[in-house]
Amino acid sequence: MAGSNSEWSQKVAAFYASPSHFLASTTTENFVYDLLRVLADEKISENVKIQILGIIQEFPGLLFTNSLVAEQAAESIFSIYSQLPLVPKSVNLKCHLLLSVTTIVIATDHLTSNAKILNNLMSQLLDTVCDTNDRKYGGHFRPLRALACDCLREFETCHPGLLSRKLELLHSLQQKEVSPLHQAYTLLYIQVLKNAVRTLSRSRNVSDGAIRELLTRNEEIKWKVMEKPQDLLAIATTTNLTPLPSTIETKELKSSVTLLLEESFLLTPVSQAAVFHELIQVVLMVRSLSPAIFRSQLLRLFGTMDISLMHSMLHMKASFTDSLFSAEDENFLLKRLVCMAQHPLLSNPVKLFYMDCLLHFPENRPINSNLEENLPVLFTPKMAACLFPTLFNDSSTMMSRLNLVSLMCLDSAEEERGLAEIFDYLVSLYKLVDANGSRGHTVTFFQAVYIFVSCFHASEMYMSELTQYMVKLYQRHCTLAPHMINLIDSIQHLLEDSKWPVSLGEALRKLIVELPPKQLSPHKLIWHLKVLARVAKEPTILQKTTVQFLLNVVQASDLCRQGEWRMGNSVLSVCKSILHHQNVEPIFSDLADLLQHVHAQFQDIDIQDHAHFYYALLTCLSHEKLAGIVAPGTGNCIRAKARSLSSLMSESAGHSISVLPIKHPVLKLIPVPEEGSSNRGPAGDMTVKDFEEDSLQKYLNQFQNVGFASTIVMKFHLTFAEKVDPEYHKIYTVHLCFDLRSTHYEPLSDLHVPCLFLSRTPHVFSLAFKPHLPFPVMLHTRAVFTKEDGSTCCSQLEPVDIGFARLFLALPVPTNWPLEMKARLFNQFWESLLQTGSSQSVLSRFCFTTVQRPLSELVNLHFQKYVVSQQSDPESYKAFLFLPPRVHLLLSLEQAQDMAKVDIVTDNWQLLPFINSYLIDITSEK
């Protein structure tokens, strides 16, 4: 189905928009074959072909799911490539074709043992790169040559050592090329050289002439390297490089490396960085090469404005430390880095990167591990002063700088002065938030406070001053309550022993309870109650005035009369916090009065009930029991209920009820193998007699009844996945949502299971699949359930593969039909499909060897239920398969010597790829 240019452009766009969605509406194999057909179609424009090749270059993993498709694609693209004439006009398309084949070969792993394709591709690539200085084909083909170099380099990168037998050739090409393409040749050569030296350094017995021998090698490529599983990590790692013995001869290598470095100036900065990186590793492995070989480059690099080169220099520093950088150089480089971290002409992201580099600066004599953030020893307060944040910085810069100057201040002797400056900075941020309070500034301010407290929590003077500022801020902007609570929580989490969060909480509480009642509009009160509920969690903060404040509020205002549920809940959540965390003895009567009042006066029955419940708990239970009941998830027998009883809304949940996502599947679905026919579309009311005449037409007429034979019912076990945490061993109200992610099926309705216990038998249920087209499909399932402690969880199950064979059904005719009738129907059907020549029907043939297993065994195993006739000489079978909603698959299997042939007739050609792969599967299994 070729389609026009514009159709294909649209298809390509639709594919990019969502590849998975697009592929769900067709089969991947069909799509790939369509793509290949279009590529070979002369009527299709080059532009569209390039778009299509783009898909192949970007999504090979999605498209080439087995080696057969990959092979066919690679071969057919390669043949298009070879047939295209070598004229300037075709260069661009040729580049794309070559890149596509290379991508398929490297990315998919399906062709690693396919010597024919590998040899073809490699000889094409090598042939292309051998045309140095445009001698043979001229300058128009430079893009192709450059691409071939890149492809070879990618081969070598993904399969280190693959090209090491070609070093001599690659070296001579690299030296010969004088056009700008020498960059591509250099990068290729260096990659191969580094990998070859690396392989050498990993082998045990290395002769003294090994390197010379390496550099002069020019042999055939051994494809075995491709088949070995790679451990790139071991090859790329720059730590633990084993140096080669110092006796090894390195004269040739040294002159080669020196020349490469001299010419590095001719490469683009990113490529220079790549060259330096590989050469650094070579020098690290070959001890007789001195790091000083890089010295001449350093003089050029020290002043650079380019990030790749700066990064390379830092990398050299990390690799060679004082064997390349003297103490003076180190100091110099550090100053350059500080200067670049604040240079007005560099972009913010780049400066932030340099700031980060400062905290991991590769020192000659590192004291700390480089994984943690540390200031370099040579970093001075003067340098930190250059990086002091201002109000005009963006938020990331502010935080980055604040962190850095705070670290400096902690280390420095001039701590007092530095701390004062940082605090003043915090105050200026405070003023900004106080005056204007945009969300961005507010978040930044609280982050700054967090950094400040995390560094200087020991300084009591500043901490208490900070508390005052925070209280002042809250006094004017009570909508900051969630920020304040988050700050208290975050600091407590970070510094378990710090008293500051508690003192901030107490200060806020004091402010709130002393507020004149007039200032308490409901809008503000709701924020205050949030803060009070949080503060009441601190057992060291006495709550007597809090309770009196609440009592005063509910008695004096018309809050109870209005009966707003949310407000009532907020009041009760403070009470609950107190009941849970506080010693209620000293506040017993006030609290009881409060609850009593709410119970009696609040105009909402739900709130009344809860107030009464708390009142009952308070008056009837000892403190320990009481705290146990209101505590979330700590009681025993009634814990699932305790939660729902003792709080209306979970505090952490904010405005929504939260569902906890669980990473690992808790449950799994196991398909139950079918017993007998599960065809739920009984063959209408027709009897055997009805069919006697004109049986085919009558058979087909059945499908005019809506819903006839349109479903496949499958049974599943719902059970627990392996190694599930004990907390999930008993789950309740399981809600399963199914998703086939395919447009070929009707959506499945959800399923409810009351409970599921690990100790009991799995739950069995059936699902009715209604296909529009019977394509294989994956069943994705999401389960939402409640744990024993009452929290709701959500878990994604492992998808279940509904394979092609699961869709086979016996013919929808009365069960009492004799075989002969089915056979007759088979023959009629066969004839009619071949005769009508409808666009949908198709005849196909499949052959396979029966040496290992006789045909009869295969038929018995897979088609027994569907066989309508069989003969013995020659051995042959006819199998009549039905797939809902109305697809027929007629197989005629016949033995011929060692082979069996299967003639396939179906009324829907789109199924052919599935039939094909199904037959391959069952005939190749052992």
Binding site: E154, V178, S179, S312, R336, T390
Partner: protein
């Protein structure tokens, strides 16, 4: 040195879209190998887009506090983000933003992802920066109309085919690639006698009249407060831009920057990669520590082989002793009227010859100007009512006294009457917090005194080129804050005069 994928995402008019994405499956295969069990598959574009917007706090903007977005311990100190995709995370995603386009790139991490390695140790991070910066420069070279952008996206796809076909970028100068597309192929094959390799960053050869053009552009920014307890700050920085049209494969040029005897020394010098060597003395002058550079006044020599296009030869900063224009601004509220006074004084050492000089006086959060009664002793005043802005065009010259002033009263609609839709807003400017912003350009002048002497430029090339030099001073973020109001302070509270960035 490879990247797994890049994305260009559009953020226009409240809608977001994927403008371009490119993934590199062979690099992906390596990522799977390197990252082992912490490997996260690349999501589809739309999923990535949404996840990125969530990470960048660009969702749920109507909500006051959302913990996963606003928590104080969730601090981003770099432009590298961790993007949550389902249960797993993509890291390190480098994100840069410019002109309503998000540029994102995921470099390959050639090591285990746990514990998380520092950015400095990731080989792929600088190519990712280079790639995104290159794309950014390319997209900002011309007008940003919608069809233009679409066209450029197509060009980018084609250019990536050559600059980064398999995820390892070899060139990031997309502007040059565009210039050369078409003329990329040389007319004649390489002559058999050519022995000199042609630089990869100079893939063409200029033919025509030789010419060298060098321009020194200095920019000055300033925050002035006119207060005793707040220190004014200013910062000066310069760029030397070159365009050299010279024949030959490797012509070399040496440009010297000269300073007059009393000029301010150049510091924090950064040079273009085409510069072949820099005297390390001039690199030691920096704003970071107290190297005594007062005795050094050049010349600063830069030998280089010029690329084909315009390029930035070097960047520098300098600590000039004075800002060129010293100003004060007083704004007071009297009922619904604002009484304003602005005084500006040009320093006597500064060249009094502007191409333009304007003072913009915006009024934020007050609605459109109803009436303005202002007097200036020099230049003209324009009132832009809708924009709530006074523009004082000072012109080409300050008067002899070098001082100009503006006084007057500006009236606004009574509180609550103003139409909020046309209001100018600013995060800083509420109440009496207000500023005057200056825009000026002084041609043929630099504040440091830095200049390029035509005769000092040395060119080693077959023909003698025409040499053009120029210089200019431009204002950039030049603010004078209302001394009667609270102004956000730019300097360190007790800090020194100079550092401000």
């Amino acid at each position: 040195m490879s990247v797994r994928a890049i994305w260009l995402l559009g953020l226009e008019k409240g809608t977001t879209s994927v403008k371009l994405s490119r993934r590199f499956p062979t690099v992906e295969k390596r990522a799977r190998n390197f990252n082992g069990k912490n490997y996260t598959e690349l999501p589809e574009d739309k999923i990535f887009l949404n996840a990125l917007l969530t990470e960048l706090d660009m969702t749920e903007l109507d909500k006051n506090f959302v913990e996963h977005r606003d928590s104080c311990c969730r601090i981003n100190r770099t432009s590298v983000y961790e993007i949550a995709i389902g249960d797993s995370v993509l890291w390190p995603v480098l994100v840069m933003t410019q002109n309503a386009i998000l540029y994102a790139c995921l470099p390959l991490v050639e090591q285990s992802l746990t514990p998380r390695p520092p950015l400095i140790s990731l080989r792929g991070i600088s190519p990712a920066f280079a790639l995104l910066s290159g794309l950014m420069t390319f997209l900002n070279m011309t007008q940003r109309s919608e069809p233009e952008i679409t066209n450029k996206m197509t060009q980018i796809s084609a250019m990536l085919m050559h600059a980064c076909p398999l995820g390892t970028p070899t060139d990031t100068d997309f502007g040059l690639m565009q210039t050369l597309s078409g003329s990329f192929v040389p007319q004649n094959p390489i002559s058999s006698v050519q022995a000199q390799k042609q630089p990869a960053w100079k893939p063409g050869i200029y033919k025509g009249k030789p010419q060298v053009n060098v321009c020194v552009t200095e920019q000055i920014r300033s925050m002035q407060y006119d207060k005793n307890d707040v220190i004014d700050v200013w910062q000066e920085y310069g760029t030397v831009t070159c365009k050299c049209d010279l024949e030959g494969i490797l012509p070399t040029v040496t440009v010297s920057l000269n300073l007059p005897i009393n000029g301010s020394p150049l510091q924090d010098i950064l040079v273009h990669p085409c510069v072949s060597a820099v005297d390390s003395t001039i690199l030691t002058f920096n704003s970071v520590d107290d190297v005594d550079d007062s005795l050094f006044n050049g010349p600063y020599k830069f030998p280089f082989t010029p690329p084909l296009d315009v390029f930035k030869l070097c960047y520098y900063t300098s600590q000039v002793p004075i800002p060129p224009i010293l100003g004060s601004y007083q704004m007071k509220e009297e009922e619904q009227n604002l009484k304003i006074t602005v005084n500006l004084k040009l320093h006597e050492s500064v060249k009094n010859g502007f191409e333009y000089c304007e003072a913009h006086i915006p009024f934020f959060n007050r609605g459109p100007i109803v009436h303005a009664e202002c007097k200036v002793n020099h230049g003209q005043l324009e009132v832009s009512r809708e924009k709530s802005l006074l523009v004082w065009v000072i012109g080409q010259k300050f008067p002899k006294s070098l001082e100009v002033s503006l006084t007057g009263i500006v009236m606004f609609p009574a509180f609550g009457i103003s139409n909020h839709s046309v209001q100018l807003t600013d995060p800083f400017c509420t109440g009496l917090t207000a500023y005057v912003k200056l825009y000026f350009r002084i041609p043929d002048y630099t504040l440091t005194g830095c200049y390029v002497d035509q005769h000092s430029i040395q060119v080693y090339s077959s023909a003698k080129p025409r040499i053009i030099t120029s210089r200019e001073l431009l204002s950039s973020e030049y603010y004078i804050w209302n001394s009667k109001g609270d102004a956000p302070v730019a300097s360190r509270p007790l800090g020194s005069l100079r550092n401000w960035e």
